[in-house]
Amino acid sequence: MIKVQNVSKEFKKVVKESGLKGSVKSLFSRKYDIVKAVNDISFTVAKGEILGFIGANGAGKSTTIKMLTGILTPTKGEIEINGQIPYKNRKKYVREIGVVFGQRTQLWWDLPLTETFTVLKEIYQVDDARFKKQMDFFNEVLELKDFVKSPVRTLSLGQRMRADLAASMLHSPKVLFLDEPTIGLDVVVKSNIREAITKINQEEQTTIILTTHDLKDIETLCKRIIMIDKGTLIYDGSLLDMKNKFGKFREINLSLQNNSDINMLRFKEDLNLNSDDFQIKSNKEKITVIFNSQKIGVSDMLSYILTHTNIADISVNDVNIEEIVRRMYK
């Protein structure tokens, strides 16, 4: 379905010297730096798969998406999607894909939402029956009905994002690219959007590639993730494997009857743990202990805490992937 082979993208960047003098100087002679935004990335995606892209800001996620959608041409390497090369014959290629850039909109700013759909219907030549079926589907999963008549500029961010998602799906694309589809949304809308994405994926067997900073998105949507850092691929595999591979960390949440008891927990001295293997976070109500379960078993850890403190409440959790990602970046 999607084949990406040894793809790199370089940008020329003007280097400006600082200050007014530098600005004047750069008017006459410019120095360029070559920035490698994406460096030798390869992966494949099967039909119907949901693939999550994660990485820090500026890691090269968006650049990769832009190459996959045919906007940017790779400096090196090859991309093949649906048997087509995205950056060649762009107009033909984009008929089969849908794209949402969370920070931009493809809706007509001044017009009621319905008009955007009408325009898209014409652009993609969706026939009437199909159009109606799709709109019904969107109404069901994205609840567009309430604001479909209002001008796009009056929509809230959550409404706009739902509409954008619908707009990218109207022509039933084979591949859907979602670049930060949940950016800036509240928890309810986020879960709404996630549900919709799942439904779309199941209903139409759409291949979905999504980038996000919200790891909850990844956890609920993606079985497989790709992690990019400074343009290079540093992890490609299932979420589960990643959790196993990068430290079997567990998390214990507890609240103490007496908050000063926290000083009684001396993991370093009593349990011989390195400072890399555990971490204590605390605020007024809650204390979180994160520890490597390969170094000390969960039951040992629990009994140590129980013997040294008076506990009001306690729970043991899998560490969330945010923590893993944070550790990987280090």
């Binding site: 832009k66 906007i71 940017l72 794209v99 955007t116 325009v119 652009i123």
Partner: protein, 272 residues
């Protein structure tokens, strides 16, 4: 072909609705332009009064009045925002939203802008035309309206709009290479105003300069359609000016395509 038309018709329709969204904008613009015309009228009146015989380079006072109002109308009809709308999209990166759609970038911009202008065109074209003819009837004492000149004028205006659109688009594409084109845009504005005959009829320039100016693409923008309406061209001259318009249009369309092709090659990512 039909499918193609439908695709861009939807842009046209969207443009019409978008144009309706900002009505006050248009009213203010209309008042401003009218004031400008009136000022120009009085300036030329002063020029003609002082020239003594009321005839200047083959223009009389009625001609120049017609010229002032018509050239402004043409300038308005063929005015285009394509430079700024394209440059803005390039600068803030929203052009990528156009690129992920299976449409021709230039044509979608054109269709949308045409739609956007439909209302303002009808609201200015008809009253100004009627006004001009009433003025001619009152001063000349007979109906000077010539249907053939009028139809040729319409065709000429359509050509000059398209030339203006693609010429401006070309300046918009500069944003790919310069990122900020404010200065260039100002320069372009003045060049067009001066060379297109929007301020001074090209016929008023000294012979040698006039010949050069008439060959430039700018003359096709305002001067040509205005002179066509006024019936200042002989049949042979008409053929020649229309040929010039078509040639310039083709030249600009081709350059635009080439620049777009080059620009895509060196497109860099804006904003993430």
């Amino acid at each position: 072909m039909r499918r193609l038309c439908n695709t861009y018709k939807s842009f046209l329709k969207a443009g019409i609705q978008s144009g309706m969204a900002y009505r006050v904008n248009f009213i203010c613009f209309f008042i401003g332009e009218s004031l400008y015309c009136i000022v120009m009228y009085f300036i030329w009146k002063a020029v003609f009064m002082s020239s003594g015989n009321g005839n200047f380079m083959g223009f009389n006072m009625v001609d120049i009045t017609l010229y002032v109002f018509l050239s402004n109308l043409v300038g308005f009809l063929t005015s285009t925002d394509s430079t700024s709308s394209l440059a803005l999209e390039i600068k803030d990166g929203s052009i990528i939203m156009r690129m992920i759609k299976p449409v021709n970038l230039n044509l979608s911009l054109l269709a949308f802008e045409l739609g956007d202008k439909v209302m303002v065109i009808t609201c200015t074209f008809i009253p100004v035309m009627i006004g001009v003819e009433i003025y001619r009837y009152i001063t000349l004492g007979y109906i000077a309206f010539n249907i053939i000149n009028f139809l040729l004028f319409i065709i000429s205006v359509i050509f000059s709009y398209l030339i203006a659109f693609y010429l401006n688009l070309l300046f918009g594409y500069l944003a790919f290479f310069l990122m900020n084109i404010w200065g260039f845009n100002m320069l372009k504005g003045s060049l067009i105003k001066f060379f297109s005959g929007a301020i001074i009829p090209i016929a008023f320039f000294p012979e040698k300069i006039r010949v050069v100016f008439e060959q430039l693409p700018f003359a096709s923008l305002v001067y040509t359609p205005t002179m066509v309406y006024m019936g200042k061209y002989s049949n042979n001259e008409l053929l020649f000016v229309f040929a010039k318009q078509i040639v310039w249009l083709i030249v600009f369309i081709l350059i635009c395509r080439m620049v777009w092709y080059l620009a895509q090659k060196r497109l860099s990512s804006q904003g993430g």
